[in-house]
Symmetry: C2
Subunit: 210 residues, 2 copies
DNA sequence: GTCTATATCGGGATAGAC
DNA sequence: GTCTATCCCGATATAGAC
């Protein structure tokens, strides 16, 4: 349940998945606190107490969503760290893959990333997961700068702005395409945008073994 | 109270301003619904019912915050429309001014822009205000493309991504600087970043009369 | 314009039958 | 594993004294 476990979504029962799907959609549309467990249950087609056979609390639902959103992204980023290649290309590949995954995901996880309720003390574990996401992004930006591909700016600021762009993915009906976001992010960071085609090629190539 | 009025913040009593300040901070930290009117009152140093002498409801507080956040930005953008000059330079100037204003503002309005509760029906008027903000941004992007300064991408997507960056302004302690955001946005949009210095000069010059 | 006291409602969670 | 019924609490808002 905690963000430490980064349990893959595959471990969840079909019922639990349906609950997460419905909850994520409602959280995105109207916010976490404004969504009642009755709302979630109605969207799933069951009565409110039925949820508690799958999750011990409403908070646990949000926690599971954070895990499902952040876990795969962290795993992918760490995998990339061990591979050869330019950090800027890794960043581009990582953004494209992760954003496309979110786009396809039924969970609409993006808006979870900006759920302000996570600022409360009881979600400290989830906040740590988000902090790790920011940290791996910061590392990629810093490496890209050291390698000369990315323009000089505070790498933490760069990471924050890249992650802030995720919110543009938003809801399906109005979404900005994943590739548009990845392109915008790289344009925002690159020292010389002429190198983007080059990076795109490297990022599209099969991943060399670490 | 409605977003239509775009009433300047100057119309508010000092007490009302203190309430808005405290409320904005708490909404940003833990979310709108998760913040109780008791929380707000405690932050202001009064008891909960005292708030109702200044605002008729909790929703009205959020509504006033949206007005204060969006009103000046729309006014500034419309003013720019009537002036000569390149749209890309206008966009840069507008972003810099508006973001700096938010940075200085005691209201921490940024996170208001992503408050998911605004998705609920009863905030339709506030959503329209945010839609207008997106529309003026879209228009600026489209004009910048027509003038050849901005690279081709869906102007609506471009506007969404620019506005999504606002969230990086976040809270004071961890904020990304306003200028960093404006620079990142322009880099993300520009056809040729070499033109940025030029645009910066035009944006820094005194505004020519319309 | 702030207070105390309180009405009223809705939400999270549990008990226990099926 | 879902249901009905219910507990309990916290939240918004109002009443009325000062």
């Amino acid at each position: 349940m905690s963000a430490e476990t980064t349990r893959p979504a595959g471990d969840l029962s079909p019922s639990a998945r349906r609950i997460l799907h419905a909850a994520a959609r409602l959280f995105a549309l109207q916010g976490y606190s404004a969504t009642s467990t009755r709302d979630i249950a109605a969207a799933v087609g069951v009565r409110q107490p039925a949820l508690y056979k799958h999750f011990p609390s409403k908070d646990a639902i949000l926690s599971a969503l954070v895990d499902a959103a952040v876990g795969p992204a962290l795993a992918a980023a760490r995998d990339l760290e061990s591979r050869p290649g330019r950090a800027a290309a890794h960043l581009y590949r990582w953004l494209g893959d992760y954003l496309a995954r979110l786009e396809d995901s039924p969970y609409l996880l993006v808006s979870i990333l900006v759920t302000p309720e996570l600022g409360q003390d009881r979600f400290a574990a989830e906040r740590r997961a988000l902090d790790r996401l920011e940290q791996v992004t910061t590392d990629l930006v810093a490496r890209g700068q050291a390698e000369g591909d990315l323009r000089p700016l505070d790498p933490r600021s760069g990471a924050r702005m890249v992650l802030a762009l995720f919110d543009a993915l938003a809801l399906p009906e109005t979404a900005v395409a994943a590739r548009e976001i990845a392109d915008f992010a790289l344009h925002g960071l690159l020292a010389d945008p002429a190198r983007l085609d080059d990076l795109r090629r490297e990022a599209a190539a099969p991943l060399p073994p670490g």
